[in-house]
């Protein structure tokens, strides 16, 4: 069976269903139509992308079908290839994926599929109870990634905050560098939130950061040590110690929410252990090294295309190292000073 055949047989399962529930989103001015086979599935995936919902009905630029075995009359067949075909990233090197894409990790009962020509995608999970908890915090991430191949846009593994619509920053760095903490501390200090894990970068003049997901995640230890006042707002109070602590930032800070901002720079925070906080210009290649490896690891399809876009985006903006102080107030003051000195913003 070819990937095209598998896609078409999977799609037919949805096309024969009569009661699909529709949700329309607006991402960077483009309409997304999601068709759920059940209200339960809609409820699982909506929280992270609810802020993108629109009542406007325009021609959809992509349609995503979402289903599980309980709500679709006929069960989707498991991908027919040997399980060794797919690597840990859900990617199959040996399958030709120019026109159709598949994402399948053989130990997780879910699969995503996409037809590039028709801009139709499918997300299937064996049952709603088996959706991995992380998938719900970045709903349809791999599908959005496939879609951006043919758009002037790229999903990037980075947090983002902004002073206003004209002044946005990506915050990125290796694991443990302090990017989530930096991002969320800035939000607590009144800056605008656009994301803490994945954002949508719309290329243009200027490049724009689009808030793709409204959920934020923290390690349990980090939450309890640095953000204890957030505990009442946990979306997963029973499981956060086993998973990550999940929050709906738009709900917590509605005045600090921004849907998009122009990209003005990339910040690379680093825990220095010192009292002094310092932001200074740095090499652009450090931003590329902070963003590309994890982005391309999570989103392994059309990597050359993604690498090229990430390189372009990084080339077009300045990179700044940020040596973080042990004192939160110092960090906040330094960021304010940085905005004033570098961008004349008070």
């Amino acid at each position: 069976m070819t990937l095209k055949d598998y896609f078409e047989s999977s799609l037919n399962l949805f096309l024969s269903e009569k009661n699909l529930l529709n949700q329309n989103l607006d991402i960077a001015g483009r309409q997304v139509r999601i068709r759920f086979s059940s209200a339960r599935l809609l409820a699982q995936f909506s929280p992270s992308i609810q802020h993108l919902e629109t009542s406007e009905k325009r021609h959809e630029e992509i349609t995503i079908y979402v289903g599980d075995s309980k709500s679709i009359s006929n069960k989707l067949k498991i991908p027919p290839w040997n399980k060794d075909t797919f690597n840990a990233q859900g990617y199959a090197n040996i399958l030709e994926q120019k026109n159709y894409q598949i994402f399948f990790q053989p130990w997780i009962p879910q699969v995503s599929l996409y037809s590039r020509k028709h801009r139709i995608a499918i997300y299937w999970v064996n049952s709603e109870n088996e959706i991995p908890w992380w998938e719900k915090t970045f709903s349809f991430r791999i599908i959005f990634h496939w879609w951006t191949r043919d758009l002037p846009a790229q999903l990037m593994h980075a947090g983002a905050v902004a002073k206003n619509k004209e002044t946005g920053f990506l915050i990125t760095g290796p694991s443990g560098a302090g990017k989530s903490t930096t991002c969320l501390n800035l939000v607590k200090n009144g800056y605008q939130y656009l994301g803490d894990d994945y954002i949508w970068l719309e290329q243009g003049n200027p490049d724009k950061i689009i808030a793709l997901y409204q959920t934020a995640k923290l390690e349990a230890e980090n939450l309890l040590e640095r953000f204890p006042s957030w505990v009442p707002f946990l979306k997963n109070p029973d499981t956060y110690k086993k998973q990550k602590a999940i929050f709906d930032l738009k709900e917590m800070y509605p005045e600090n929410w921004l849907s998009e901002a122009s990209l003005k720079g990339i910040l690379l925070p680093r825990v220095s252990g010192k009292r002094v906080s310092k932001i200074e210009k740095s090499k652009k290649m450090l931003s590329l090294m902070a963003i590309a490896p994890t982005t391309l690891h999570h989103l392994p399809h059309h990597r050359e295309n993604s690498f090229k876009k990430i390189s372009e985006i990084v080339s077009n903006t300045n990179t700044y190292n940020w040596e973080l102080s042990t004192d939160k107030v110092e960090n906040s003051n330094e960021f304010q000073k940085f905005l004033a000195n570098e961008f004349s913003i008070n």
Binding site: K75, K77, I78, N87, A88, Q89, N93, P106, W107, I108, P109, N126, E130, P132, W133, W134, P174, Q243, K244, K283, K284, M285, L288, M289, A292, P293, T294, L296, H297, R303, E304, F307, K308, S311, V314, S315
Partner: protein, 144 residues
């Protein structure tokens, strides 16, 4: 005629005079700084010795130092299959414009292989009668 060139499987880009080289198949990344950047920017070429001589001649007072540096970084780039010897037939080869350096800065090739381990993850799992994996609590992995 075969030429030395950057492996086409490597994605490469110049940033402020430094090279980032990414083997997108293996998830291994490299950064290259110093004189090696200028050497790579002159690719493709046929005659490695001739190219080395030209670069060495830029620094007449540091010839042996420069030669050793080129020889060392060349060896590393070949070992990592970043540089290969290949016949170029009707192929458009991307070129990189790096300025001729005014001072000798030793080459440094750094390798980043953090993502490699994650490529190997493949937990053992049970399957149901349709072949779908059975999700058990201890198989739910934290997203990396």
């Amino acid at each position: 005629m075969s030429q030395f060139l950057l492996n086409p499987r490597i994605a490469a880009d110049l940033f402020d005079g430094d090279f980032i080289l990414a083997n997108l198949d293996t998830g291994i990344y490299y950064s290259l700084t110093g004189l090696g950047v200028f050497m790579i920017s002159k690719m493709p070429f046929e005659n490695q010795g001739k190219e080395f001589d030209e670069i060495v001649s830029i620094f007449p007072n540091q010839q042996s130092e420069v030669f050793e540096d080129l020889k060392t970084v060349w060896g590393k780039l070949v070992q990592e299959e970043i540089i290969i010897l290949k016949e170029i037939i009707n192929r458009k080869i991307k070129s990189y414009a790096a300025e001729q350096p005014s001072e000798f800065i030793p080459s440094k090739l750094s390798k980043y292989a953090d993502m490699q381990d994650l490529l190997m993850m493949d937990p053992i799992h049970e399957v149901d009668e349709d072949g779908w994996p059975v999700q058990e609590d201890d198989q739910v992995k934290k997203e990396k």
